[in-house]
């Protein structure tokens, strides 16, 4: 039973990471019906942005607990968010906006191009920024006092602090997002645009601005996830966006794409399923080598049998 709870905690924290990224897919999809294939790279860029902020602060390693938690960590998150949002807005402006009226294949292929480009750009050029290490291999992510490597026990169950950070970050971000979407003018414009872009435009909503806001919100959450990923695994590399992005997309679909709550639920479910599958599927197929296979199999099954997702109120049927 302890083992089960241990895996459950692991799964929930992993799922929280997926959920943070998944929100970006779902918000953008809800408004422009585009699978932003490069969103995984936005997440990766956010992690690198946070790392760069740490270097700019003088690579601190010996700050006190309070300074680390209340200055360093927020600064890193902020740095990551700024970089992610900037990159996301640039790609939207340069790669997606010109294709808004093109056939559906075009923006998706363009997004694949952006994804490859961003990965390679970080791999090749991050090291040229003064003070930054060579990024062709994984870079050790800075450890934050009180989170990195720390853990506590509840009975027999060990809870890692990075996991706590991820879950707290998800809760905070979800609350922020709920407020933003339901209580601000831009947020309500987003809802209106996702329901009917043409009418929204007629009502005086600047659809371009709303779309930019959607990209920005998704990118900001992805950057938070980037920091969480760095703290959790201890290093970051230019390839980390592909698999995490794909998993997060799975989570978004699982919850019902276009539905923000769905993305959160989908992420948590996917994390738990992945974590439990590796420990409770017997025999050779239960080893960790197969966990991605189970996640993708879940994606395919959901897409085939319940394309509207777990919480999907919205029936998606598009060719």
């Amino acid at each position: 039973m302890e083992f089960f709870f241990q895996q459950l905690i692991n799964g929930l924290s992993l799922g929280a990471l997926y959920a943070l990224i998944a929100v970006g897919y779902t918000v953008v999809y809800g408004i422009v019906q585009l699978i932003n294939f490069a969103h995984g790279e936005i997440f990766m860029v956010g992690a690198f942005g946070a790392f760069a902020t740490w270097v700019l602060l003088g690579s601190p390693t010996t700050w006190s607990l309070a300074a680390a938690l209340f200055v360093l960590l927020p600064a890193m998150i902020l740095g990551g968010v700024v970089v992610s949002v900037a990159v996301a807005l640039l790609t939207e402006r340069l790669a997606y906006r010109p294709l808004r009226t093109a056939p559906r294949l075009a923006p998706l292929i363009s997004a694949i191009g952006v994804s490859v480009f961003l990965q390679e750009f970080i791999r090749l050029f991050f090291g040229y920024i003064p003070g930054m290490p060579d990024s062709k291999r994984a870079i050790p992510f800075p450890s934050v006092e009180g989170i990195s490597g720390a853990s506590f026990q509840i009975g027999q169950v060990t809870v890692q602090m990075p996991a706590v950070f991820t879950i707290v970050a998800l809760v905070v971000c979800t609350l922020f997002l709920w407020f933003y979407v339901n209580r601000t003018k831009t947020g309500r414009a987003m809802i209106a645009t996702s329901q009917d872009p043409d009418t929204a435009r007629l009502m005086g909503i600047n659809v371009d601005r709303v779309i930019m806001a959607a990209f920005a919100v998704g990118a900001a959450l992805a950057a938070v996830a980037g920091v969480a990923h760095g703290l959790r695994y201890g290093n970051i590399d230019f390839r980390m966006g592909f698999l995490s992005g794909l998993k997060a997309f799975t989570a978004a679909v699982l919850g019902g794409i276009g539905n923000i709550n769905g993305a959160v639920v989908g992420g948590l479910v996917l994390g738990v399923v992945e974590s439990l599958a590796t420990s409770f599927i017997p025999g050779q197929f239960g080893s960790t080598a197969w966990k991605d296979v189970w996640a993708f199999a879940l994606l395919i099954l959901v897409l085939v049998f319940r394309p509207q997702g777990l919480l999907g109120a919205k029936v998606v049927d598009r060719a």
Binding site: I35, T101, S110, F242, F285, S287, L299, I300
Partner: protein, 574 residues
């Protein structure tokens, strides 16, 4: 640039012609001088009075430009005569641009390769100056009307000779380009070829060639295959280029398979490399390699069929969600399948699953093919030319590619192909018209996968080893890029796209680190500026330019003549 009214352009015409013509002649003559002090730069342009091969190309270009500038003075183009159907001025302008661009690239390359502009000799500066003057003259010329060379009536024998000459030029260009070892020289040649093609395009030569080709389709196809067949004889036993050429053919064959799914049916498949992998792994496991996990080695023709069948079964499996999933969702489903395939191949290593593929080590030591007693690993001498191992595989792949092209074009023109296009245009409407959409989509997946599986079976033997990391998502993206770059739904375009994507990285190794970066940019720019690809399928082009009325009329006219050609009897249509 200042704008010049059409009246003053008329006034400038004769002086511009003379100045441009003289500049072109000077540019051509500049190859008699040394261009580079350092013989190591480019292809040794350091001789006085003895041009290098690339300089000879420049000489020819200068001569062409001079003709384009000066000949109209003598001919005095009149309405209704062929002299007026040729777009002299526009072509002269583009030839001048190339005359300028060529020395610019050459000067940069010499400076980079030999260390400084000091190594650039007078010849290159003279060519550069002449190029500037010619370009100015070209800009001053009045723009020609649209070329109409397709209206020129030509004797069939001349048409066939033209096709033969064109194919010969193509073979010569390919052999010459592959023979250039220096990256700067290759870029220079690529610039030259692009400039020449643009010039001839503006002149209207391609319009005329298209008429010749349409009138002699069989000759054209035979000539193309003859040229490809003759290619190994030009390499004189050199294996490096033959290996590249074979890889291009394998890649092209796989891309054609993908083209059925993406180009004809319009279903985006992001995991297509899995089919190539399935074919390769099946063939490897049955190859009799010391590491193969099945101790049964069927003859190769059977292995090919089994590989294709395994791949197409996988295709059916991957295609089955199309019953319920479409659009972007299908793309993601196929991507997930592709990843599952790769991870599974990685895991079937005996510790995480049954041992089938040796895990990440893959299956090395695959023996060469032995086809009815013909050993593909052996070297032969035919007509005094050494034909090596890769040339054998090249011919085999050529044969398979020919079969694939036949299958592709015939399917495309059949009832099935029209059903596919109908699904691509509007699935609901197609279904309402009685098209069995699900069966046709499955058929597309299975056929495409079969072709890829066959290519994979050859690839396993050609590469000697098969490992899971050859079949990552990025390779699927490359295949997709070949289809998109070349032109979705076309045979020629996809083959060109595959050639560009395989050949350029091999020849430009100095930027191999930037290969993927440029690849990503290429995808974005293609989608932005020419989503229909280099060679556009007319109907496709229309989809991407839905508001272009002029294009719509043009395409309609062409489709009508096309159908009139293939279905001369309207009652024959059902």
């Amino acid at each position: 640039m200042m704008t010049i009214g059409s009246e003053s352009r008329q006034r400038f015409e004769l002086p511009a012609r003379i100045v441009g013509g003289v500049a072109a002649v000077v540019a051509a003559a500049s190859v008699l001088l040394s261009w580079s002090y350092d013989p190591a730069a480019l292809d040794d342009m350091s001789f006085w009075g003895a041009p290098s091969p690339l300089q000879f190309h420049y000489l020819a270009l200068g001569a062409l430009a001079a003709i384009l500038y000066l000949l109209p003075i003598a001919l005095r183009p009149r309405n209704g005569s062929w002299t007026n159907w040729v777009a002299w001025n526009t072509a002269a302008r583009f030839a001048s641009f190339t005359l300028l661009g060529f020395p610019v690239i050459a000067v940069i390359a010499i400076a980079l390769e030999a260390g400084g502009l000091i190594n650039v000799d007078p010849g290159a500066w003279l060519a550069l100056g002449a190029g500037v003057v010619a370009t100015l003259a070209g800009v001053l010329l009045p723009t020609s009307p649209e070329p109409a060379m397709h209206r020129i009536k030509t004797h069939p024998v001349i048409q066939i000779l033209a096709i033969a000459a064109g194919m010969g030029a193509l073979l010569f260009a390919a052999v010459f380009a592959l023979g250039l070892q220096d990256a700067g020289a290759f870029l220079l040649y690529a610039g030259f070829a692009a400039g020449l093609v643009l010039t001839l395009l503006r002149l209207g030569v391609f319009g005329w060639l298209a008429v010749c080709a349409a009138a002699n389709k069989r000759v054209l196809v035979l000539a193309a295959f003859f040229v490809a067949f003759a290619f190994p004889f030009t390499q004189n036993g050199s294996e490096a280029n033959m290996s590249i050429a074979t890889q291009v053919l394998i890649f092209g064959a796989t891309a054609l398979g993908l083209n059925i799914v993406v180009g004809l049916v319009g279903l985006l498949d992001l995991g297509y490399i899995a089919f190539l992998g399935a074919g390769a792994f099946t063939s490897a496991v049955l190859s009799g390699s010391a590491f193969a996990t099945i101790n049964w080695t069927p003859p190769f023709w059977l292995t090919v069929l089994i590989s294709g069948t395994v791949a197409s079964l996988l295709g059916l499996l991957i295609g089955s969600p199309t019953l319920r999933v479409s659009g972007d969702y299908l793309a993601i489903v196929t991507l997930a399948f592709g990843e599952i395939f790769r991870i599974t191949m990685n895991n079937l290593d005996g510790s995480d699953g049954p041992n089938v593929t040796n895990g990440s080590d893959g299956i090395p030591g695959i023996p060469d093919l032995n086809f009815f007693g013909f050993d593909f690993g052996a070297t032969h001498v035919i007509f005094g030319v050494t034909i090596g191992r890769f040339a054998n595989y090249f011919w085999l792949m050529l044969l398979i590619l020919a079969l694939i092209i036949v299958v592709f074009t015939n399917l495309n023109r059949s009832r099935i192909g029209r059903g596919w296009v109908a699904i691509r245009e509007d699935e609901l409407a197609a279904e309402a018209m009685g098209v069995n959409t699900f069966a046709l989509k499955l058929l597309a997946f299975a056929t495409g996968a079969f072709l890829a599986g066959v290519a994979g079976a050859v690839k396993a033997h050609h590469d000697v080893s098969v490992t899971p990391d050859q079949y990552v998502f990025l390779e699927s993206a490359f295949l997709l890029a070949a289809v998109v770059l070349g032109g979705m739904g076309t045979v020629m375009g996809v083959l060109i796209g595959a050639t560009i994507l395989k050949l350029l990285p091999e020849k430009l190794r100095f930027f191999s680190d930037y290969r993927l970066l440029l690849f990503g940019l290429l995808l974005v720019f293609m989608m932005r500026f020419r989503p229909e690809g280099i060679i556009a399928d007319e109907r496709r082009q229309l989809e991407f330019h839905a508001t272009d009325e002029e294009l719509a009329e043009e395409v309609e006219e062409e489709l009508v003549t096309y159908h009139a050609h293939y279905n001369p009897d309207p009652k024959g249509q059902k």
